[in-house]
Symmetry: C2
């Protein structure tokens, strides 16, 4: 069962939505751990409809483009519930920064330092953003029955970002000396064995 299908079913369980709506929700609420493009959402909605997991209604009395609103059918809800019962299998890792570090001996140390710095900055921004959102949610959605779950996803983001920043700080301490000793007088780079 496709992950995108599940994500969409999950969001529809909270109420009917158009493809465009789904995109908004994914971007605004799931953005820190999930991503979907419109070019993917529309075909998947079509597929879900073919399978009978969603019902499609065209909003009447609209000028311009038609608005199609989708809602969960009972089959769709059953599929969603089935997913919750299934184990999650880890997705194969692909961390481009770590690939670059691993091959680090082939690179100019300054390039590694820059790569890690940029990563650290990005993760620091995430950290602040996640904390901000968590604070806002705690204040403005204090009564929401979903609050616990949302805070858990944010906390996961915060912890991961903290660990990433701490790693990057440490990595920079080890990489900067290499760049410093390399910079003053540059000959040709050593060929790897």
């Amino acid at each position: 069962m496709n992950r995108t299908e599940l994500a969409i079913l999950g969001l529809l369980a909270y109420g009917p939505k158009s493809g465009y709506d789904i995109r908004q929700v994914v971007e605004q609420r799931l953005g820190h751990f999930w991503h979907e493009s419109l070019g993917h959402i529309y075909p998947i909605l079509k597929r879900l409809h073919r399978k009978g997991w969603v019902h499609r209604r065209t909003e009447p009395g609209r000028a311009g483009p038609q608005r199609h609103v989708y809602s969960l059918t009972s089959d769709g809800r059953a599929a969603l519930e089935g997913w919750f019962r299934e184990p999650i299998e880890p997705s194969p890792p692909r961390n481009e920064l770590l690939l670059r570090i691993f091959l680090g001996r082939l690179a100019e140390p300054e390039d590694l330092v820059r790569s890690v710095s940029e990563y650290r900055d990005r993760r620091r921004e995430h950290l602040e953003r996640f904390r901000d959102i968590a604070r806002t949610l705690e204040a403005e959605a204090a009564e929401d029955p979903d609050l616990t779950f949302w805070l858990l996803t944010l906390d996961a983001g915060v912890r991961a970002a903290e660990a990433a920043v701490a790693w990057a700080d440490d990595a920079l301490e080890r990489l900067e000396p290499l760049a410093a000793s390399n910079a003053p007088h540059r000959h040709g780079k050593d060929e790897p064995a």
Copy 2:
């Protein structure tokens, strides 16, 4: 420029390899942050050859299947060096566990608890494995010029896994009470708004 192409170029920079060899190295050395399947490696090698980034040599005097050994050309090395100079753009997130947590109100709390427990166990195993490998490397490859870089990738894994386990522990503390109050007397599940 394709990430798999880069990974393969990077490994070939350490010496000529066959597709099969590359698979072994990816699995054994890059396994904690990178993945490639054979069905992907072979076509990519073909493509790299077409682009003139690798040279292909068929090993003579072998019975059975031919062994094709690839090595970097200077164009290939240039491509690799270009990559080091380029910024890394973050890949769109897709965290299935967090998706499940986010939609948690739709699930049975026990299912959430199980999902998080399994995740925690998996990450704990990673943690031990990474620490093991780091210890082994420090002892057996103390002189290797790549050691620093390898240890950095492992440290990233260790820190990420530690943060993940800590998060999971905390999440379980918040989710288990929900499961407990749910389990004794189960009526129908509440419908979401």
